[in-house]
C-alpha cells in the first residue's frame, strides 16, 4: 500500500520582511496520524499553520495538503479541514450560535446535530453573546467551529488553552475518537504531557527550522534513563562509583543515578551494595524534550 500524506511541505520558508518566521521546513504528515508540533515561543509553529491556511504565502518553498497546493487550492483544502487558531478572535456582539451559523454558511447547511452534540459535550451555552463568554468558553466555541463539519484534517494551535482540567480531558477524548475514526491531527502545543498522551509522532521546530521528527516512543527510549536506589543504611560516596552510571543526587539513604552504559555490569555492581529498594522511573517526554527548549549555545548551528 502506498503511503498517503495529508500534508507535505517542501523547503517551506516564510520571512516577515527580514524577520525569520520559518526556514526550509520539510515535513510530511501521514494520513490518519496525530502529529505533535512542538517548539519554544517564537519558533514558527503559528507561522507554519498560517501558511497552511493561506493566510500567509511562503517566501519560498511550498506546502501541499491532500496533494493540493495551499496557494492555489486554499478553498478546496479548507472544505476538508478544521482549524483552531492560536489567537482566537471572535465577533463579540454575535451569539455563539450566530457565529457558528455564519461560519457554517461557508460550507453549506448541515452540521446542526453535531454542533448540538458538541455544545452539550463541552457544556457551552450557544445562546449567549460571545462578549459574555469567559476565556475558556471562547476556546470551546473555537473547538466547535473546527469540529462541527466533521473534517478529515484538524489543524490545532494550542487547542486546550484556557480549558479547565475536566474540559481538557473531554477534548483529549474527542481527539482520540477522531483519531480512531481515521482523522489526521496536526497538534501544536506546549503541554508535553498532552502531546505524549495523544501523539504518535512529534516534530520539533526551533528558531524556524525543523530539528527533529520522530516517534514519541522512540524518543522516550532514546532518552538516558534514571535509577533511584533506597539503601538500608547510608553509603559513602566512594562506594557509589559505579560502572555505567553517574551519581546525580545523594541524600542520606536516597540516591539517584543517570544510567549511561551497559546495564548488566551496572546491576552486578549494585548487587554488592545494601539495597532496600530500586526503581527506574519512566522517562517522560518532558525530560526528552526539554533540551530542545534550551536556547542554542552561542555560535552553535541548530
Amino acid at each position: 500500500m502506498a503511503t498517503n500524506y495529508a500534508i507535505v511541505t517542501q523547503d517551506l520558508t516564510k520571512f516577515y520582511g527580514r524577520q525569520r518566521g520559518i526556514e526550509g521546513v520539510n515535513l510530511r504528515v501521514l494520513e490518519g496520524e496525530v502529529l505533535g508540533f512542538l517548539g519554544p515561543n517564537g519558533a514558527g509553529k503559528t507561522t507554519t499553520l498560517r501558511v497552511f491556511l493561506d493566510l500567509l504565502r511562503p517566501t519560498s518553498g511550498s506546502a501541499r495538503i491532500f496533494g493540493l497546493d495551499t496557494q492555489r487550492h486554499d478553498v478546496e483544502i479548507k472544505r476538508r479541514l478544521g482549524n483552531i487558531p492560536g489567537d482566537i478572535a471572535l465577533y463579540e456582539s454575535l451569539k455563539g450560535s450566530e457565529l457558528l451559523d455564519l461560519l457554517g454558511s461557508f460550507r453549506g447547511r448541515g452540521g446542526g446535530r453535531r454542533i448540538k452534540e458538541l455544545a452539550e459535550r463541552f457544556d457551552l451555552d450557544l445562546g449567549r453573546q460571545v462578549r459574555a463568554y469567559s476565556r475558556g468558553m471562547k476556546q470551546k466555541l473555537a473547538i466547535l467551529q473546527a469540529f462541527m463539519h466533521d473534517p478529515e484534517l484538524l489543524l490545532l494551535d494550542e487547542p486546550t488553552l484556557g480549558l479547565d482540567p475536566l474540559m481538557q480531558r473531554e477534548f483529549y477524548a474527542l481527539l482520540a475518537e477522531e483519531h480512531n475514526r481515521g482523522k489526521t491531527v496536526f497538534l501544536s502545543s506546549h503541554i508535553l504531557s498532552e502531546v505524549e498522551r495523544l501523539c504518535g509522532r512529534v516534530a520539533i521546530i526551533k528558531e524556524g527550522r525543523l530539528v527533529l521528527v520522530d516517534e514519541v516512543e522512540a524518543l522516550k527510549r532514546r532518552k538516558v534513563r534514571k535509577m533511584h536506589i533506597h539503601f538500608r543504611r547510608e553509603v559513602g560516596k566512594e562506594d557509589l562509583r559505579l560502572p555505567g552510571a553517574e551519581l546525580l543526587r545523594l541524600e542520606g539513604q536516597e540516591v539517584e543515578f543517570l544510567m549511561k552504559g551497559d546495564i548488566q555490569t551496572l546491576l552486578a555492581a549494585v548487587a554488592r551494595l545494601p539495597v532496600e529498594d530500586i526503581a527506574f522511573p519512566e522517562a517522560t517526554l518532558e525530560e526528552a524534550f526539554l533540551e530542545f527548549y534550551q536556547p542554542a549555545p552561542e555560535g552553535a548551528a541548530v
Binding site: R50, L53, D54, L55, L56, R57, V75, E76, K78, R79, G82, N83, P85, D87, I88, A89, L90, Y91, S93, L94, E98, D101, L102, L103, S105, F106, R107, A142, Q145, A146
Partner: protein
C-alpha cells in the same frame, strides 16, 4: 457574495446605522422646519448674489441658476434644501462611508477575525466584496432616510418640494459616497493597519474637500480641482436642469468600479492577510 456575512455585517453595524438615520432625519427636518423663517428674508440671497462669480462657480452656481432656483423674493424650499442639506450630504455621509470602508479588511486583520473566517472555505475576495456590498446597502438606507426626513418636514411647512429633483440630487450624492466607499475599501486592502488606513483615507478626503473649495483661488491651476471627487458633485446643477450630468455619473461609477475591482485583486494577491 455571502448573504450570511452580509447579514452579519449589517447587524454588527445596527447601532451605528440607527444613530446615523436619526441624525440625518433630524438634520433634514431641521433644515425644512426653519425654512419658513428665512423664506421671506432676502438678505441671504443678496449676499449670495454679491459673491464673486468664480466663487459661486465652485458651488456650481451661476447668477442664472440663483434666479431660477431661489426665486427673486427669497429662497424657494428646493433651493434652501440644496444649499443647507444636500450640498453637505456627501461629505457628511462620506464620513460614515470612509470609516466603515477603511476598516473592511484592515480591521478584520487587526483583530484577527479574518483568521476565523478564512479557516473556512471562503475566498478572500468574497469577504471584501460582501462587506463592500453591505456598506452600499447601508448607504442606500441612509439615502432613503434622508429623503424621508425631507418629506416628513414638508408636512409641517407651506410650499412643497420637487421630490423628483431632490431624489435626483440624492442619487448623485449617493454615487459620490459610493466612490468614497470604494477607494476606502481599496486602501483598507492595501494597508492592513487600521489606524494607518483610516488616516490615509481621511487625509485624502479632507484634501479633496479643501481642494474643491480652493478651486476659485487656484487660477490657472484650477484644473487641479478635477482631482477632487467633490468637484463632480453639482447639486444646484441637477436641480436646475432636472437631470444628472453624464460626466459626473461617469466619474463616480468609474472610480467606484475601478477601486472596487482593484480591491478584490489586491486582497487576492496579498502575501499576508493577517
Amino acid at each position: 457574495m455571502s448573504f450570511a456575512l452580509l447579514r452579519v455585517n449589517v447587524r454588527l453595524s445596527q447601532w451605528a446605522i440607527f444613530g446615523w438615520i436619526v441624525f440625518l432625519v433630524a438634520y433634514a427636518l431641521f433644515v425644512v422646519l426653519i425654512y419658513p423663517s428665512i423664506a421671506q428674508s432676502t438678505g441671504l440671497l443678496e449676499y449670495m448674489k454679491s459673491l464673486p462669480e468664480s466663487m459661486l462657480g465652485s458651488f456650481g452656481l451661476t447668477p442664472e441658476i440663483i434666479d431660477e432656483l431661489f426665486g427673486k423674493e427669497g429662497f424657494s424650499l428646493d433651493g434652501w434644501l440644496v444649499t443647507e442639506f444636500l450640498n453637505y450630504w456627501p461629505i457628511v455621509v462620506g464620513i460614515y462611508a470612509f470609516m466603515f470602508g477603511s476598516g473592511i479588511l484592515s480591521r478584520e486583520a487587526d483583530r484577527g477575525t479574518i483568521e476565523l473566517l478564512l479557516s473556512h472555505p471562503v475566498q478572500r475576495y468574497t469577504i471584501v466584496a460582501t462587506k463592500f456590498v453591505a456598506l452600499l446597502a447601508i448607504l442606500a438606507l441612509l439615502l432613503v432616510a434622508s429623503l424621508a426626513g425631507v418629506l416628513l418636514g414638508t408636512l409641517f411647512v407651506e410650499g412643497g418640494v420637487d421630490l423628483g429633483r431632490m431624489s435626483l440630487v440624492l442619487v448623485q450624492a449617493g454615487m459620490a459616497v459610493a466612490a468614497i466607499a470604494a477607494y476606502s475599501t481599496l486602501v483598507s486592502c492595501l494597508v492592513l493597519d487600521p489606524r494607518r488606513s483610516v488616516a490615509i483615507v481621511g487625509g485624502i478626503m479632507a484634501a479633496s474637500f479643501i481642494l474643491n473649495m480652493l478651486v476659485p483661488a487656484l487660477g490657472a491651476a484650477a484644473w487641479l480641482g478635477k482631482l477632487s471627487l467633490f468637484y463632480y458633485y453639482r447639486p444646484f446643477d441637477v436641480v436646475f436642469r432636472g437631470e444628472l450630468a453624464a460626466s459626473s455619473t461617469l466619474v463616480y461609477l468609474g472610480v467606484t468600479g475601478v477601486c472596487f475591482l482593484a480591491a478584490l485583486v489586491v486582497v487576492q494577491r496579498r502575501r499576508a492577510v493577517i
